[in-house]
Amino acid sequence: MKEVAVVGVGKTRFGALADRDLRSLAVESVQNALADAALPAAAIQAFYLGNFAGPSFTGQSHLAPYVAAAAGLTGIPATRYEAACASSGAAFHAAWQAVAHGIYETVVVCGVEKMTSQPTARVAQILAMAGDVAGEGIPGATFPAIFAMIARRHMHQYGTTREQLAAVAVKNHAYGFTNPYAHLRKIITIEQALAGKPIAEPLTLYDCSLVSDGAAAVVLRAGAGGVPVLACAQTSDHVDLRGKADITRLPAVAAAAQAAYRMAKLTARDIDFAEVHDCFTIAEILAVEELGFCAKGEGGPWSQSAPIPINRSGGLKSKGHPVGATGVAQIADVALQIRGRADGWQVEKADIGLAQNLGGSGATSVVTILGKERMQ
C-alpha cells in the first residue's frame, strides 16, 4: 500500500447558519481545503461526499456532483456516501483506500449537513431513520431514547453515575469555548447539566449533541508531506438495538480500533489525544472504553480523571454535530492539532491523534489515526 497524507484541511463554522445552504457550506470547505493544500481544482481526481440526509433535510438529491461542480470539480468520479452519523467517516475510508491502493494520487473528501432549516420534530424523525424504523422507531425509539437505554444499562452494570455523564458535557463545553469554529461556545456547570430539561431519562438536554449546519473537507494525497494517515479502519454491526447481546458494548468500535492499532503498529497507550463521537455523553464514555483507553465499565471515572485530551475541539456536544460533516471534521481537527495549528485550543502533546466516528448506535464505525511522522 502507498503512504497517504492529509495535505489540506478546510472547515466552515458550525452553527445554526440561517443564511447558508448545503451547497455553499460544502463548497466553502472544499475551497478552503484546496487553498490550504495549495492545489488547483484540476489536480483532484475523485470527489467523496459524506452526507446523511441531505435529500430529507433539503429536498436535493444527487449531491456529490451538485457540490463538486460548484467547487470547480468536474470530469471526475463524484459520489455520496451515506452511513448515518458516520457518513463522512465512511467517505474518508473509501477515499483513503483508493489512494492507498494507487487508484488515485489526489482526492477530496467532504462532509456536509444542513439541518436547521427543519423544525425540531422533523429533525428527530429524519435522525430516527438511521435506526431500525419499523422495529424500533415506531414504538418510540428516538436517538436520545436509544442512548438513554444504553446509559441506564451502563449505570446498572457498572455503577456509572449521572454526575459522570454530566462531567463529559461540562468538559466538552469548556473545551469548545476556546474553538472559534464551535457552534455553542458556552461554559456550563455540573449543576446546570444535572438540572437540564429531561429529554429521555437519564439524559437531559446537556447530554445531547447539537443540531447544526456545517461542512468540513480534507485533501488526501499519496506520498510524503502533510499529516500522514497511519491507519483507517471501518466496521459494521446491527442497526437495531435489540440485535445486540450487550447494549453497553460497541463491538464495531472495538474491532475498528484494534484493526487501526494493528495497521499503525500502535496501542491505545500511544495515542496522545482523540476526537471521539460524543453524540450523547454516554457515547463518549462507551468510546473511550471500546478504544481501549480504559477497561470496560470504567469510562465514567476515566473521563473524570481525563488522562489525555478527549474532544479538545468541544466534540459534537459543543463544536456541533452537522451529522454528515462530523467524521471529516474530526479528522480535520486531529490534523490541525498535529500541525500545531489549533490556535487557542492546541493540545500540548500532539504527535499521534485518533478520530472515532460512529453511525447510529454503533452499526458503522470508523477509526482513523494520524501522526506527525510515519511509524517505522
Binding site: A128, I138, P139, R152, R153, L241, I247
Partner: protein, 67 residues
C-alpha cells in the same frame, strides 16, 4: 420476561406527542429474542422487573409489571 433497559421519553417524535412522556422498554424473554415495547398506560417499570405482555396496540407491545 424481565426489563433489560428502559427510558422515560420526554421529547417524543411528532406521532407520539399525545402520549408523552412514555416509557420505552427493552424486554428479555425467557426463550426468544429481545423485544422492544412501551410500558402500558399508568405503568412505570425498572430494570429487572418481571413483566407480562398487556396488549399489542398498532403493532406495539405494551408491558405491565407481573403481579
Amino acid at each position: 420476561m424481565t426489563v433489560y433497559s428502559e427510558t422515560l421519553v420526554w421529547s417524543p417524535p411528532a406521532e407520539l406527542a399525545a402520549i408523552a412522556p412514555y416509557q420505552l422498554l427493552l424486554i428479555d424473554q425467557d426463550n426468544g429474542p429481545r423485544l422492544v415495547g412501551r410500558a402500558a398506560p399508568g405503568e412505570r417499570l425498572a430494570i429487572g422487573d418481571t413483566v407480562t405482555l398487556d396488549a399489542v396496540v398498532d403493532g406495539v407491545n405494551l408491558f405491565r409489571k407481573t403481579t
